[in-house]
Symmetry: D2
Subunit: 464 residues, 4 copies
């Protein structure tokens, strides 16, 4: 039994903690301490109680010592692994990020990665991650750091830029869902039923705008099954988890129509949910107006819905913490614990990961953060060379990657002018004039300045 310490920044999490605690409890071969840190101390304590209850479950094979720390240093010191999963700012700021642009006719389905929402969220996030990177450097420079926070690319970029020796990577499950989709395609077209771990997908791009350049089950080319599959399913849409019309009721759902449409145009398959993909593309392509969005069958996730969901979730967690509700262990499809075990030398694992580009994606800038496969093994995470993107797709991805690099540098220099240059070059804002873009930018900064004032000279900029 290998004893380790995992620090959990954002340990008061209402959503992702559930999976993490569940998977930890079932992790054979490892145990130790889970050190919870959160600016919401009560939430961390709630998760501590839930953890302690899980320890007593019959199905639990691995016991963890759940500790809550009021200071980040306490959580980090001697940590072998650090998981970061936070909300930068509150839902109030996110309300502005997602919905303020609607006045200008700009809809966002998620609003946390790129587009106007992604830019403003990044402005709040980078300074926080600068702080995390410094603390990790100070307290646990040899720890492995797993980031789950969005905007993923910007978070991982900040960690490496502030502390270049950091052993960090970003995990995202969007790719898994597209793998599930491909397994369904294999089943539909060939009658072969496999788990996504049995296929191999060559993934490349940037987080939430990744692409499968190749996908194989043994020597069956899964991408070549798509023409026949889309002939049948493009019109109605296809949801690997249920009805293609699920999006009408579930604000996280999509029918893969955008994905299939892009496949038809470009010949390779995007590897993220439609709600994410559309935010990297010209505003008029898939997000022009409500009618267009409905045509493509994906949901806009409102912040009101997120708030409602959170309230419901907190109630549940409270009941679980107080022992008024049963906790049931289940088999998740997340990989975090498996990756940790691979790094500890238990097994070897290939999975998709967000890391600094050392040449694994030849078409994107060296030093930018990219998402490709990597090998996880004895104290190492090593990226694989990704296959090249078709030239037109490369152009689309590169435009966004360059925007993000420009944005990051602008935030790092606290240079609002350069940040705005990235903002006005967002594909989602291509329908605005420069003057409109500037009005919107100032409005969104004004709305969220509680989290910006200490880092940027907002007054000067707004009065300019």
């Amino acid at each position: 039994m290998k004893k380790i310490k995992i620090a959990y920044i954002g340990g008061g999490s209402k959503e992702w903690a559930k999976v993490f605690l569940n998977d930890l409890a079932q992790a054979k071969g490892i145990s130790g301490e889970l050190a919870l840190y959160d600016i919401d101390l009560e939430a961390a304590k709630r998760n501590q109680k839930i953890g302690q209850r899980i320890n007593k479950l019959e199905k639990t094979v691995s016991q963890w010592d759940y500790q809550v720390y009021e200071k980040i240093g306490g959580a980090l010191i001697n940590a072998d692994f650090v998981a970061i999963s936070i909300l930068p700012g509150t839902f109030d700021e996110m309300m502005s990020d997602v919905h303020a642009p609607e006045t200008y006719g700009i809809y966002q389905s998620v609003g946390d990665t790129v587009g106007p929402g992604g830019v403003i969220r990044s402005m709040r996030t980078v300074p926080i991650f600068e702080f995390f990177a410094q603390k990790i450097k100070e307290y646990c420079p040899n720890a492995w750091v797993l980031n789950f926070t969005n905007p993923m690319t910007i978070c991982v970029k900040t960690l490496y830029d502030v502390f270049p020796e950091i052993k960090a990577f970003g995990c995202c499950h969007e790719v898994f869902h597209t793998q599930d989709f491909l397994c369904k395609v294999l089943e539909e077209e060939k009658g072969i039923k496999v788990h996504r771990n049995e296929i191999y997908t060559d993934v490349t791009g940037i987080n939430h705008f990744t692409w499968f350049t190749k996908a194989k089950y043994q020597d069956i080319d899964l991408l070549k099954l798509l023409p026949s599959f889309t002939d049948k399913c493009f019109e109605t849409g296809f949801n690997e988890n249920g009805s293609p019309d699920l999006y009408l009721e579930s604000p996280f759902a999509q029918a893969n129509r955008v994905k299939m449409d892009l496949y038809k145009q470009y010949g390779i398959l995007p590897a993220a949910g439609d709600r994410h993909l559309v935010e990297f593309l010209n505003h008029n392509w898939y997000l022009k107006d409500k009618k267009t969005i409905d045509y493509w069958k994906f949901a806009l996730t409102t912040v009101d819905f997120r708030i409602e969901l959170r309230e419901k979730r907190i109630k549940e967690l409270q009941l679980e913490a107080e022992g008024k509700k049963d906790i049931n262990l289940y088999t998740s499809d997340e990989e975090a614990i498996e990756l940790i075990k691979a790094i500890l030398g238990f097994n070897q694992k290939v999975s998709n990961v967000n890391m600094v580009n050392l040449g694994q994606v030849k078409d994107l800038p060296i030093g930018s953060v990219v998402e490709t496969n990597a090998v996880f093994t004895n104290d190492q995470v090593i990226p694989l060379i990704a296959k090249p993107l078709p030239v037109s797709v490369k152009n689309l991805v590169l435009r966004n990657a360059n925007n993000i690099e420009t944005l990051y540098e602008g935030i790092k220099k606290r240079d609002l002018n350069q940040i705005f240059e990235s903002f006005m070059n967002q594909p989602l804002l291509d329908g605005l004039t420069i003057v409109e873009a500037e009005m919107l930018f100032k409005e969104m900064i004004e709305n969220t300045r509680t989290y910006l004032d200490q880092y940027f000279n907002i007054d000067q900029y707004l009065n300019n």
Copy 2:
């Protein structure tokens, strides 16, 4: 007196031939044959007659033997230099290029470089330049080739791609005009009056979307004079050749307001006319609608106007050829003859030029065609390393450079799908849905298919 042969492809030219013959007549130290070739044989003969009249003028210092050839091989054989200045297709096709997109709300001020017009024009141009490159390879592989045809980048790319050993470069005077503008700035701000040859501008980018990263007169930084200058002139505009409102009557005029606006945002100065610059940028920025265009004070050059101008010009030329109108030699500001003399070893000259990127522009793809300074000297044209662009400008230029590379490859492969991918990614078309973009693309192809059918499988594509 050095004897040379210059082949002139498009030697029936109505506009550019005037300057060329004028400058040749005044070129001390060189003489020889000017071999005119044009699909409009009569026009070539007209220029021949004009040339023969120029030979007899008193101010003429250099006699030329004006020959007209019915076949391109005759003009090219033994040529030391080849000048290419043609109109790909006719004004009928250009009418569609420039005006067909207006139905979709897309205005173009020139329509011959990028945007929908530039893409379709490229489809006509590449096959013609493939033919030129093969003929040059066959008849005069050691000749220096000067291209003056648009779309410049695509033309030069084709020449090098078909015949990599070619000694070709593309000349464009847009940069000269911005140098004139800077000389005016120097005069206004410092009271120093100089010719543009006395300042040094570091130029980089792609044709018609070039930028001055540095501009110096001795140790005076000309770019640093701009804030004070624009404070005075931005509102009214400033035209280095006359009134800022000249654009109201002259369809080639502009008031440099776009240029100054971009300088204010990005800190470096675009080095092409405003009419060209706006076509590389989001449709809504400067070309949103007639009101916006008027606000920025530049003209849309209609094809009707071009036709009218040509008619007028032909009448003049006819009179000149028949000796019914006097021909007066004048001092032009074009450099073609000076460059030819530098290549012959008469002098050494640094000027801007379009050539394949061998590393002179580190931020643009190796192998793409870029515009930078080069040294012209004994049988050599050697590009200079350009200073890097600010990151946000680099993003804008790179997007267009990548689009052009994608377009060129698509045309080379006769792949209408890839050509469309470049079309739909044009900044000028960012306001269209994919479906609208495809409708427009098919319409424009249909309109101009006379020049496309022999190269592309148009029927199949349109019926798809």
Copy 3:
């Protein structure tokens, strides 16, 4: 049971076939045809008989249909995998390769990779591999090709250069032995006994001149164990398979003294046998004279010894084929079959491999052949990004990699002058004058011209 066809070029092999047939017989889950092709038909038939006997052994779990083909096309057609393991030329030519330079004071421990022997052997090998690549393209373009022939780098380069879409890689077990060495170090220093599959080594460089930039067992840094280990073992030497003085009797043995010496100087560990390493370095460093060689405790493998060994081996094989000698299956440490099964989707495997550099080694030329780790999985072999070499080691490797690229291009162009430029720049020949180098080069070409005359204009060169 997955049915496959494996073509074996060089199927009359006397050495490597033994392992391959042994491992095939024990390969659960696959069976099919092994198609033997060899210019020595009798040898192929002998192996066929041995294979048929193996089929009947009790321990055999996988039956194979052993077929002999007189023409290469028959062996290749419909093949799923192609293994290439040949001797380019005969031991007569190798006699010259290895021993002719001794007259000039140049000793070679192997003589088949770089140095004078490697260069001349490459001249024989490239044309043969050009032929193989063309035949593979013709008969089985989708087959996976495993090369085991030396000079490895040159062989793999030829395959990819002639047929860029080929799915080829080169396998070499030198790295495995250094992994075994590291396992011994771990055992000596920490008392932990593991198989080499349980450690992870980050490997980079070119074949036979590879380096471990990192080596980990869980979180134990194996390279950090070396100072203490070498303190104890450097003087006497250390052989992971037996006595450090084994080299006195076994012409393939070595005592890792060169390896440890290079580690002491450069801080990272070479990952090939000492006999190979020394051939990439200045002649005076480890191969100056017999005394020096003895000091470093490695053997020079004479060609006489190789001939003797082969004779002995043929007798054994004959007895095995005729059923006069028992065949015993055993557990080999080779990975070829395991890699084949990984490619078929049975499992996922990370191992070292020779492939074209797509960016996996950033310090070596893109397009050259490098050795790094790769993931073997469903119809894919994907290189991993290797860690950078220390700058001084990079210089040593790059010099050799550039020499090989120059050599390959020279052979491809049949340009004896360029081949000589690579020859005279070999580290092993740095002690010769240019005139001496040229004499030796001509001598070695003369000696081996039977295999060169059909490809190169030898007469003209020698008489020049």
Copy 4:
């Protein structure tokens, strides 16, 4: 008349000052202050007096105010230009640099660039140039810095590495002499007599190991004249300044036999003196022993000779300073003043220059210092893209460039181990064993430690 201040570091120079003062006196259009700084104050004052005498000469067109400063800051403050021409250490250290290796059979013809002498000299030089760079940053960050000191590459690298915004370049006249040689070739072969400014040579490589990839007079290819020329002159040799046997009496002379030999092998012409070229190549090629050296007809410049020359020179200078010897202005072939005037905007000039590689030499590392052509013009020095080297020459140059980069980094980090790695990889030392190389290295460090002790931990290293 433009008034400027030029700071002259090493202003007590005995040799180069003569040319500089001579050229300044004849520089139309500029005058001002020449600020002399030297650790040998008397020598600076002597040059001051000579300058003041020059001011009174009839032929003098430009008066200069010659000032001597005891502190470097005084010389640098407000300087527009800084010239650096120093001897790092004294001739005592140079005696060891050049002659200590002779015990090991290693002859050096110059010993100040690469090889054992170059490495040890670099160890003395880098710390001095670190100091200069810091002072320039402090006192005159906008000044243009002209370096004339060897080792040129290392000096320029240091300046840019310490102060990246520096406007520095290195001037070397070796290229001029090879241009003179080519002019002689043109005269011999074609009967055309021109000055080197009338031909155009494309130069690339690193200082003292540069190559002409192309050389043209008008459209005459000068390199193509060489086969016929070398047929006639290779055996006897050819010295553009006199008899090919001049080397027997003049220790700076050479007969271009090495240059012609390298041309015959590689097809392009080295552009430095033979004495320099041979030091970048394998020891046995041209410097094997005295007999070989004599065969190739170049001189070894002993340090005794340099000392003698200096003594003679000082006597002359003393007489000139005291007015006991006439000073005559003459026409030099140096370009420093011409370059200064070009930078001031008087004219535009293309010349060879040592600068940081921004892409002008694609085959050498970005960031290393390379020698190519550049344009000198209004406050700018801009490198030109150089033509690629043939692959075998590239290998030779790259090996040396990488060695220099490794050396520089080693000195920067004060890491004697890494410095030794560069030392042992010098082509001139390829005949030594590692142990011999280490003995020699320690000996040479010991000999020159007066200048090393304050920067390196010599004791610890020597006792290790």
